[in-house]
């Protein structure tokens, strides 16, 4: 049932694909982190943006990432935006999680006491300066664990990119499976890879959380 020789044989191919998975994860999360922060900040600085942003966030969070990936990849060309699969995939995954991250940042901003804004006004700091130097440094640390959880969630959704043939882990496993008619080893190995990475990240997040709690106990 389980062929160790075969498992070993496909390991280098899977390892190469794992690098793509990690690339997608990191780039996607970078987009999610920065765009999410921009969205959350926009809602505070320009109150009129709150309604359109929350609508967009609702729309993104209510529909499957898979469809969003297809949308960007297939619909883009109709608007003159032709993306290769990898770019479309990273963009879609980044946008999807930007919606989630913006809500996390928003909770972080709301956890900063109003008095901090008022004190900044009393010191005649500008609004942008207040946001950048006073609010964000206080709002981010408590939400780092929540953001970390979304990093793990994003990581676990990267196999969806196999639907548009991005050569990440899952696609690689599927190809091995269809060529050799052996699905057991490749898919189990992919599963194990995700399990190990997720458990390790969960452990790391707990460590970070404990560290933050020690330093920023309010």
């Amino acid at each position: 049932m389980w062929d160790w020789g075969f498992a070993l044989e496909i390991l280098p191919t899977l390892a190469k694909a794992a690098i793509v998975t990690v690339q997608v994860t990191l780039l996607g999360f970078l987009i999610a982190l920065s765009l999410g922060l921009a969205l959350a900040a926009a809602r505070i600085m320009q109150p009129w943006t709150a309604v359109p942003i929350s609508l967009a966030v609702e729309l993104i969070r209510s529909t499957p990432l898979l469809i969003q990936i297809f949308f960007l990849y297939f619909v883009g060309p109709s608007f003159g935006l032709t993306l290769d699969a990898m770019t479309a995939g990273i963009l879609a995954i980044g946008l999807h999680y930007a919606a989630y991250c913006s809500e996390v940042y928003r909770a972080g901003f709301e956890s900063v006491p109003r008095g901090q804004w008022e004190a900044s006004v009393a010191l005649n700091l500008g609004r942008w300066t207040t946001l950048r130097d006073i609010i964000i440094p206080q709002a981010i640390p408590p939400v780092v664990p929540a953001l970390g959880n979304y990093l793990v969630a994003l990581f676990k959704e990267t196999p969806l990119l196999s639907a548009i043939a991005v050569m990440e882990l899952m696609q690689s496993a599927k190809i091995i499976g269809s060529q050799t008619f052996r699905y057991n080893e490749p898919i189990t190995l992919v599963g194990l890879f995700f399990l190990v990475m997720s458990l390790a990240s969960a452990w790391a997040i707990r460590r970070v959380e404990a560290g933050i709690n020690r330093r920023y106990r309010r």
Binding site: M1, S54, L55, E58, L59, R61, S62, T63, P64, L65, L66, I67, Q68, F70, F71, F74, V75, S78, K156, E157, T158, P159, L160, S162, A163, M170, A173, K174, G177, Y183, N184, I187, T188, V190, G191, F194, L195, S198, L199, A202
Partner: protein
């Protein structure tokens, strides 16, 4: 977003779907997408039932079960939360036959998605039970209730109210996860969309409709859970606020 806003958004979404369905460019896709949508709803409902059941059982075993069953629950929760839903589906559909268990695509889909969301749900259930104040347990001891009675009559009903909002999010996740079943050849909404996209290349029309349909389904779930929350909250949530 408030209940009114959600209801308004749902009405707007349905109206848009309705309007688009009447247009020349869109009309031909309606029957196929309707079939796909029906399949999506069916899988969502079946997997939701399994998810809630699995979550309750796993959470109770993790909290109160004897050691071997507790480990089993923890293993289940960690494995299904730690690996991708898509990997789980593929494993059930392509790898299980190696062990002599062949599941139909539909069965694999319901089991895979149900158990996946159930693992997340188990942590929700556990968290809600643990959050019930200790004094409530102590009161049941003082009234000489058994642990089972206390759990069933006093602790779970209180935990229930706290579980509803996170379960709302989980059901949305569940609905979205059903899109993955298209990759094990099941004819859901996402599958039909890809199929028609390949034959007609009317990408914009198809995927716009599909996104709107998923949005409408999500909104229905969100609104239903909000209503449930409001009902269940009577008495209890007020007490917490006080």
């Amino acid at each position: 977003m408030g209940l009114r806003g959600l209801a308004g958004l749902l009405a707007l979404t349905i109206a848009t779907i309705w309007y688009l369905s009447g247009l020349e460019d869109y009309r031909i896709f309606v029957p196929g997408l309707a079939q796909g949508a029906a399949m999506t709803v069916q899988i969502t409902a079946a997997a939701a039932v399994l998810a809630v059941t699995a979550a309750l059982v796993a959470a109770l075993l993790k909290l109160y079960g004897p050691a071997p069953l507790r480990w089993l629950a923890v293993t289940y929760i960690e494995i299904f939360r730690g690996t991708s839903a898509l990997v789980q589906l593929f494993w059930l559909y392509f790898v299980l036959p190696v062990f002599g268990i062949t599941l139909e695509a539909y069965t694999a889909a319901v089991i895979g998605i149900g158990l996946n969301i159930g693992a997340y749900g188990a942590e929700v259930v556990r968290g809600a039970i643990v959050a019930v104040p200790r004094g409530q347990w102590e009161a049941t001891v003082a009234l000489n209730m058994s642990r089972a009675q206390a759990l069933r009559r006093i602790i779970l009903p209180q935990a229930f109210a706290a579980m509803i909002p996170p379960w709302g999010n989980l059901f949305i996740e569940l609905l979205k996860t059903t899109a993955l079943v298209s990759m094990i050849t099941l004819g859901d909404l996402a599958f039909r969309a890809q199929q028609m996209n390949q034959t007609t290349m009317k990408t914009v029309q198809i995927f716009t409709l599909v996104l709107l349909i998923y949005l409408a389904m999500s909104l229905v779930i969100t609104i239903a859970m909000r209503l449930l929350e409001r009902r269940a909250g009577r008495g209890i949530l007020r007490a917490r606020a006080a």
